[in-house]
């Protein structure tokens, strides 16, 4: 049964690659990366031997804990890439729960990344073990730690699999992915602001607390190598056994629970904002875009990311050794405008397969321009006040409230430029946004380079086109900001004009490019 599951997993990996060169190349890179990570991680980890035993132990404890956390969170965020993760797919086969449990854990240990993490964890033995006892206990501890990682991830995915299959659960999770992104920026921010206390004290206090968590027990067992180590390993084994039992219980429940994904959700309120938007296609598209920014998880995520990244930039730039003067107010505001405006570089992506509805109604270049103008209007409705607030906050942080005026004007100008550039890039380099958003990929399989090209072209073209208005303001000539808004409007208009000219004939290809299967 175990080998059958392992073969199923291998077959799934291979089947996914069949006949798609880009995927095959991607997989080869992924294999190489996993190998590099495994070897590099093992070597780096074992280099800890050179540090003092205390520091080595504390680092080991933190690394083991991070691995367990990673295993718990990452499969949740990318749930759905692996059919062996979803018990409901296997529910109809005549298997006992125990067979399923053993088979599924074997399947989840199969693959380049799980094996790479096993190798890196084994580096812990090289780093921490002392003498024969240490190595022996260490090997057991590493295997148990690996089992802990597997079982933890399985318990969580199984317990939440019902919720993950429902629409609302997936919506929540998609937004949670931004939280992961934010957390990954936390160390960066802390380093930038200066650490509270010295790093070594922080490490030892973290080690002291985490030492009693299951991964901490594993790391401690390796370093101890004596009777205490054996006790650690026994406790750890108990925890793994308990989690495995919990998993089997959760699995049993998941197999007989009804699929909730087809139950209807609640009603939405009728929007009042529609009444204030223009009639016809312009207002229709704008109203739809505004609803999508709110209701579609990908819409919420992009806006949320833009705001969070702007905030991070603002606080980073306003640090003690940051720039001074008008630059520190207008700089963050313009960067925020760029971050927000860059969303316009794949305007049709969020419509995806539904874009046909617009395509059958767009019968001239003028219609396409109107469609794009509706999208720009919706974006401006959200971004203009937002950039105003960011400018005021940045100006206050910079120490002169009056700087908010040139900062806001310039930021609005940059937004206009970004929208104009984005309109052209949207019709030239459209790509599919994956339906199931995850933190690791922003495009459909095989369109990664396209997404990168789109963002790169967007950033460079917008920066270049915005330079004439941004540079003088950043250098302190605030009055130039007065010209920014008309300039931005002109660029946006010209961009829509050019996009209409180029894009109308390309409409079927745009439709095909944003409707790829993900």
């Amino acid at each position: 049964m175990t080998t059958l599951f392992v073969r199923l997993k291998l077959r799934l990996i291979l089947g996914n690659l069949r006949g798609d060169l880009i995927k095959q190349v991607g997989f080869a890179f992924s294999l190489l990366a996993a190998l590099a990570f495994a070897l590099g991680g093992f070597v780096l980890f074992s280099l800890l031997r050179l540090a003092s035993p205390d520091v080595a132990l504390n680092v080991g404890i933190v690394v083991f804990t991070l691995f367990a956390l990673g295993w718990a969170v990452i499969p949740l965020v990318i749930f759905g890439v692996d059919e062996t993760l979803d018990p409901s797919r296997l529910a109809l086969f005549p298997l006992t729960t125990r067979q399923l449990a053993v088979g599924m854990s074997a399947a989840s240990a199969t693959g380049p990344w799980p094996l790479a993490s096993l190798v890196i964890l084994a580096g812990g033995v090289a780093a921490l073990a002392d003498g024969v006892g240490g190595v022996l206990i260490g090997l057991v501890a590493v295997v148990l730690q690996f089992a802990l990682c597997l079982v933890t991830s399985r318990v969580l995915t199984t317990a939440l699999s019902g919720a993950l299959r429902s629409r609302r659960g997936r919506d929540v999770l998609a937004v949670a992915a931004v939280g992961v992104l934010l957390l990954s920026q936390l160390p960066n921010l802390l380093l930038n602001r200066g650490l509270p206390g010295d790093p070594e004290a922080l490490l030892s206090s973290a080690g002291a607390v985490l030492r009693w968590t299951p991964p901490g027990l594993a790391a401690h067992a390796i370093a101890d190598g004596g009777l205490v180590g054996v006790a650690d390993v026994v406790v750890l084994a108990g925890v793994v056994a308990l989690l495995a039992w919990l998993w089997i219980v959760a699995l049993r429940r998941a197999l007989v629970m009804p699929d909730v994904s087809n139950q209807g959700g609640g009603s939405v309120r009728r929007s009042w904002i529609d009444r204030f938007l223009p009639q016809g296609m312009l207002g229709g598209v704008a109203a739809k875009e505004l609803k999508y920014a709110r209701r579609e998880p990908r819409g919420r995520v992009t806006w949320f990311t833009a705001i969070v990244v702007s905030g991070i930039i603002m606080f980073t730039l306003s640090g003690d050794n940051g720039p001074v003067g008008l630059f520190s107010a207008a700089g963050p505001a313009c960067l925020a405008a760029l971050m927000i405006g860059i969303q316009a570089c794949n305007s049709f992506g969020i419509d995806g397969r539904s874009l046909w509805m617009n395509a059958v109604a767009i019968s001239s270049e003028r219609d396409l321009r109107t469609d794009l103008a509706g999208r720009h209007l919706a974006m401006a409705v959200i971004a203009v006040p937002l950039l105003g607030v960011i400018s005021v906050v940045a100006a206050l942080l910079a120490g002169n409230a009056a700087w908010a005026v040139p900062a806001a004007l310039t930021a609005w100008g940059v937004l206009g430029v970004a929208l104009g550039v984005g309109a052209v890039i949207s019709v030239v380099l459209p790509y599919t946004l994956p339906e199931r958003l995850n933190a690791f990929s922003g495009a459909a399989p095989g369109q990664g380079p396209l997404a990168f090209g789109s963002a790169f072209a967007g950033f460079s073209a917008t920066s270049a086109a915005a330079l004439p208005i941004v540079l003088p303001v950043l250098l302190g000539y605030g009055w130039v900001g007065v010209l920014a808004v008309p300039y931005g409007l002109a660029v946006a208009w010209a961009g829509r004009r050019l996009a209409g000219l180029v894009g109308f004939a390309r409409l079927p290809s745009i439709l095909a490019a944003v409707s790829r299967a993900t």
């Binding site: 939405v268 009639q279 016809g280 209701r295 046909w356 019968s363 095909a512």
Partner: protein
């Protein structure tokens, strides 16, 4: 005979595979036409090209005498489309979807909401009009899709597999609405592989197989004195061979 839709030598290739290899489709005005064919015959590709969603590699398409690709302004306002696969704006409610469709076509908001209310009532969707389309069942999606294709009162309606996965009650509603629509002189073209349904509804049939039209004309002419299903199986060359092999299947063997 006035033709609502006429294609000549319509051709489309995906890589090495010829999906549509020279289709001459004719649909008379005011007819309820069925486009039938086995899976992979090229029905969806043909309909996508006719409705301006997919660029043909060659051939001519005319709707009411206007070339679809050369003169889209005269064509797009007068056709309604329901493509395959229920691709709708999922995060709009049913009602919002209809309003959106109306606004895209430039119909005044007041008129749009009047038509939307009527369509929702006829389609029996009043209770779920404020639910998101993503939470709709298959039948509800087909109904709201048809409603938004009808909202601007097009002269020709293209439906790709409108009855696939639809429960009998919803199917009945769909056929009632479509019948009323064709009785007024408008044209419906729908693709399907449910022969009984086509036989019951259509007065004109085009049979596709492997990228070509193999038979076309009034229903009575195409089926002759057989049922449409028998005529169809003869035309696409797929009869018999159901009783060879599978000796283990059935109650005489054990489950293993």
């Amino acid at each position: 005979m006035v033709e609502a839709v006429r294609t000549q030598g319509l051709y489309k290739r995906f890589g090495q595979q010829v999906a549509v290899g020279g289709v001459d489709l004719i649909v008379p005005k005011g007819s309820f036409a069925g486009l039938v064919g086995p899976n992979g015959a090229g029905k969806t590709t043909t309909l996508s090209m006719i409705t301006g969603l997919l660029l043909p590699d060659g051939g001519l398409i005319e709707i009411n005498g206007h070339n679809v690709w050369a003169d889209p302004v005269s064509v797009k306002a007068h056709i309604g489309v329901l493509p395959e696969g229920l691709r709708l704006f999922e995060r709009l409610s049913g009602r919002e979807l209809l309003l959106y469709s109306g606004r895209l076509r430039g119909i005044p908001l007041e008129e749009t909401s009047r038509r939307a209310d009527e369509l929702l009532r006829v389609m029996d969707l009043v209770e779920s009009q404020d639910k998101l389309v993503i939470d709709y069942s298959t039948g509800m999606r087909k109904k709201i899709g048809l409603a938004s294709a009808l909202l601007h009162n097009p002269g020709v309606l293209f439906l790709d597999e409108p009855f696939e996965g639809v429960d009998p009650v919803s199917a009945n509603t769909l056929t009632d609405v479509l019948r009323r629509y064709t009785e007024s002189g408008s044209t419906v073209i729908f693709s399907s592989h449910v022969m009984d349904l086509v036989e019951r509804l259509c007065d004109w049939v085009s049979v596709m197989s492997r990228g070509h039209i193999v038979a076309q004309g009034p229903l009575a002419e195409v089926r002759g004195d057989q049922t449409l299903n028998e005529a169809f199986l003869d035309l696409v060359g797929a009869r018999g061979s159901g009783d060879e092999g599978l000796s283990w299947l059935g109650s005489s063997g054990g489950p293993r």
